[in-house]
Amino acid sequence: MPISRRQFVSTAAGVGIASVAAPRLTFAQNSGPIRIGLLAAKTGPLASGGIDMELALTMFLKERDNTLAGRKVELIVADTAGVPATARTKAQELIEKNSIHCVIGPLAAFEALAIADYLTEKEVPTLGVAAAEDMTQRHPSPWFVRLTSTSAQCAYPLAEYSAKELKYKKIVTIADDFAYGHEMCAGFQRAFEDNGGKIIQKIFTPLATPDYGSYVAQVKGADAIFLGTAGSNGFRFLRQFIEYGMKDKMAVIGGMTALDESVLRNMGDEALGILTTSWYSAELDNAANKVFAPAFRKQFKYDPGYYAGSTYLSGQVLEAALKTINANVEDKKALMAAIRGSNADTVRGLVKFDDLGNVIGNVYIRKVTRSDGRLVNSVIKTYPDVTQFWTYDKTAFLKNPVYSRDYPPAKNLEP
C-alpha cells in the first residue's frame, strides 16, 4: 500500500511526539508535583459559580504556598463552559495530557453525569461539587465522593423547619426544569408532607424563560413559596415576584443555591428576611471559616458562597487525606481510602462520608439580614450531621426510583 506524503508526515510527527512525551509520563508517575485538575465552567451561563470555584481553590493553595503535605501542587484548570460534551473532552485532556492525580468539580449535574463513567474507568479520585442524587445513591462510583450536598439533602431540614417551627401548612414550589430542580423539589415535598404540610402547586420553568410574569400570575395562595432555582433564573423570578406585589402575600423560602452570596450581592432590601438552607454560609462561625470568609472578602470584595465554599472545602479534605498517606498520590487506592475515611474540620464544619461517598455534615437554616451594610445569610439554626437519606431508611430509600418531576407523586395539588 503506497503511503502518501501527508500520511507519512503525520505518522512521523506522531511518533516524534510520542517519543518525547512517553519518558515524561513515566517520570511523572514517580515524583514531581501533585497535579490537581479543576473542572469549572468559566464561560457560559454557569460561569459565575465556576469562576468562584477557581478563585477559592487558587486562594487555598496560595495560602499553603502551593504545597500540600510537604509536596508541591500544580493546579490545572479546565473550562467546561457548562457543556457536558466539553466537560468530557476536558476531563480526558486533564487525565491523558496533564496526567492529573485527582479531579475537583465539575459544577453542574449534567456535566458530572457526562464524565462519571470515564473517571471511574480511569480510576481518578474525584471530589465532586455537582448535586445529582444518583451519583452517590443508585450509581455510586468507588472513585467519586461529594462534599457539598445531594440536590435534596439540604432541602429536608428546611422542609421540616417550615412545617414544625414556622407552622406552614401550604407551600408552592417553583424550580428550574432540569434534574437539580426536580430532585430538590421532590425531596422538599417529601419531608414537608411527612411533617403534615401540603405542596399545593409545583411549577417548573424552562432554563431559558424570557418572562416570569406569566408564572408569577399563576402562583396560588399559600403560606410560602419555595425557590428551587440556581443562578440568574431564581434571581429574575424573585424580582418579578416582588414587583407583582406577591411578597406581601406569602413568605419566600429557598433551596441551597436560590439566594447564594453571588445572587445576594446584587440584591437590595427586598431580599431581607428570606430563609434559605445550605451546607455553607459566609457567616458560619467556625475556626476555618473565620479565616477563609474574611480573607476571600478582602481579596475579591464579595462574600464567598456555595461555589467558592465547595472548592475550598475540597482543598481542605484533600489536604487532610494527603497528610495521612504522606502525599503519596501515586497510590490512588490509598488516596481514595484516605479521602473516604476523612474526618476533616472544614469551612462547613466537621465532614465525613457515608459508604456511598456522600458527605454527612451540618446543614444550616439561614436568614437574609444586613451586616456592615451588605446582605448576608445569617445562620439561625443548625441541623447537625445531615445525611443524604435524611431520617429515611437507607434500604427503603434506595429501592424507590430517583427523585424526579413526578416522583414522589404530589397528592395535594390544588386544581
Binding site: 464561560t43 457560559g44 451561563p45 454557569l46 460561569a47 459565575s48 459559580g49 465556576g50 469562576i51 426544569d177 411549577i203 417548573f204 420553568t205 424552562p206 431559558a208 424563560t209 424570557p210 418572562d211 410574569g213 406569566s214 408564572y215 400570575a217 399563576q218 443562578g231 440568574s232 434571581f235 429574575r236 424580582r239 418579578q240 414587583e243 407583582y244 406585589g245 453571588s262 445572587v263 450581592r265 446584587n266 440584591m267
Partner: protein
C-alpha cells in the same frame, strides 16, 4: 376573571418587549437578506450598558440611558458592518457564520468585563409603584413597555413610509439591483440600516432590562425569540414583526399558564405551522 386580565396584560408586555427585540432584526433581514445572529448579543450589550450606567449614576433616567446605549451599540454595529460584513456580500453562509462568531465574541467579552453574576437593571423610580386595577396589582413598568413598543413601531413606520431615507430603504428591500441602477447608494444604506437595527436592539436591551436583568446567556435566550417573531410575522415586514411579537407574547403567556409542561412546544409550534403552511410568514410577500 382576574387570571385572564393579568395574563392578558402579561401577554401585552411580553409582546412589547419582543417587538423592541425583533424589529431591528426584521429591518436588517428585510433589507439586507442577512440573518444577523449577532442581534441577541447586541440586545444583551444594551442591557449590560444600561445596568452599568444606572447602577453607577442612580439619578439617570432609563430613557436617556436607552438612547445612549442605542447609539453606542449602533456605532459598534456600524463598525462591524463596514469592516466585516461588506466583504461577505454575496456569501450568505459566510455572513451567518461571521455574525454567529461575533455573538460569541461579544458574550465572552461581556463575561470578562461584567463577570458571571446577574446584574439587575433598576426599574425607574417613578414607575416602581404597582398599578392597581380592579383590586389587583400589576407592575407599572410593564404597561409602560407596551407604550414604548407602540411608540417605536409608529416611529419606525413613519421613518420608513414618510421619509426619503425610508423610501430608499423600501426600494432596496423590493429590488436592490434596481435601486442601485437608479442611483441609490445601497451599500451606505446597508450600513445605516444595520446601525439602526443594532441601535434598536441596544435600546431595547436597556428597556427590557428591568424585567430580564443582565446575565451571561441572555443573548442566546433572546435570539431565538427574535427569529420566531420575524418568521411568524413575515420577512421584511415591520407590521408583520409587530403583529408577530404580540401573537408570540399571547401564545407564550397563555400557553405557559395553561399547559406549563409544554413551554417550548408552545413557543415553537406556531412557527413550524406557519412555516409549513405559509413559508413567507403571515404578512410576508410571496416570493420575497
Amino acid at each position: 376573571m382576574q387570571f385572564w386580565i393579568i395574563q392578558g396584560l402579561n401577554s401585552l408586555s411580553l409582546g412589547g418587549l419582543l417587538f423592541l427585540l425583533a424589529s431591528g432584526f426584521s429591518l436588517i433581514f428585510g433589507l439586507m437578506r442577512l440573518a444577523n445572529l449577532t442581534h441577541g448579543a447586541f440586545f444583551m450589550l444594551g442591557t449590560y450598558f444600561g445596568a452599568t450606567a444606572m447602577r453607577a449614576y442612580s439619578d439617570l433616567s432609563i430613557w436617556t440611558v436607552a438612547v445612549w446605549a442605542g447609539v453606542a451599540v449602533a456605532a459598534l454595529g456600524g463598525l462591524f458592518e463596514r469592516l466585516v460584513l461588506t466583504r461577505l456580500k454575496a456569501n450568505p453562509l459566510g455572513q451567518v457564520l461571521v455574525t454567529l462568531g461575533m455573538s460569541f465574541i461579544i458574550s465572552d467579552a461581556c463575561l470578562a468585563l461584567w463577570g458571571g453574576d446577574s446584574i439587575p437593571v433598576p426599574t425607574p423610580r417613578n414607575l416602581q409603584a404597582p398599578t392597581r386595577l380592579f383590586g389587583f396589582v400589576f407592575p407599572t413598568y410593564r404597561l409602560v413597555l407596551v407604550g414604548c413598543a407602540i411608540t417605536a413601531a409608529i416611529t419606525l413606520y413613519l421613518l420608513l413610509e414618510r421619509t426619503r431615507l425610508g423610501a430608499m430603504i423600501r426600494a432596496g428591500v423590493d429590488d436592490a439591483q434596481m435601486a442601485r441602477a437608479v442611483g441609490i447608494p445601497v451599500s451606505n444604506l446597508f450600513t445605516i440600516v444595520f446601525c439602526l437595527g443594532a441601535g434598536i436592539a441596544g435600546a431595547g436591551g436597556v428597556l427590557g432590562g428591568p424585567i430580564l436583568s443582565a446575565y451571561p446567556g441572555l443573548d442566546g435566550d433572546m435570539l431565538p425569540l427574535a427569529l420566531i417573531v420575524v418568521i411568524l410575522g413575515g420577512i421584511g415586514s415591520l407590521l408583520g414583526a409587530f403583529i408577530g411579537s404580540f401573537i408570540v407574547g399571547f401564545i407564550y403567556t397563555f400557553g405557559t399558564a395553561l399547559f406549563p409542561e409544554l413551554a417550548y412546544i408552545i413557543l415553537f409550534l406556531p412557527m413550524i405551522l406557519v412555516l409549513a403552511l405559509r413559508p413567507q410568514g403571515l404578512l410576508g410577500r410571496q416570493g420575497a
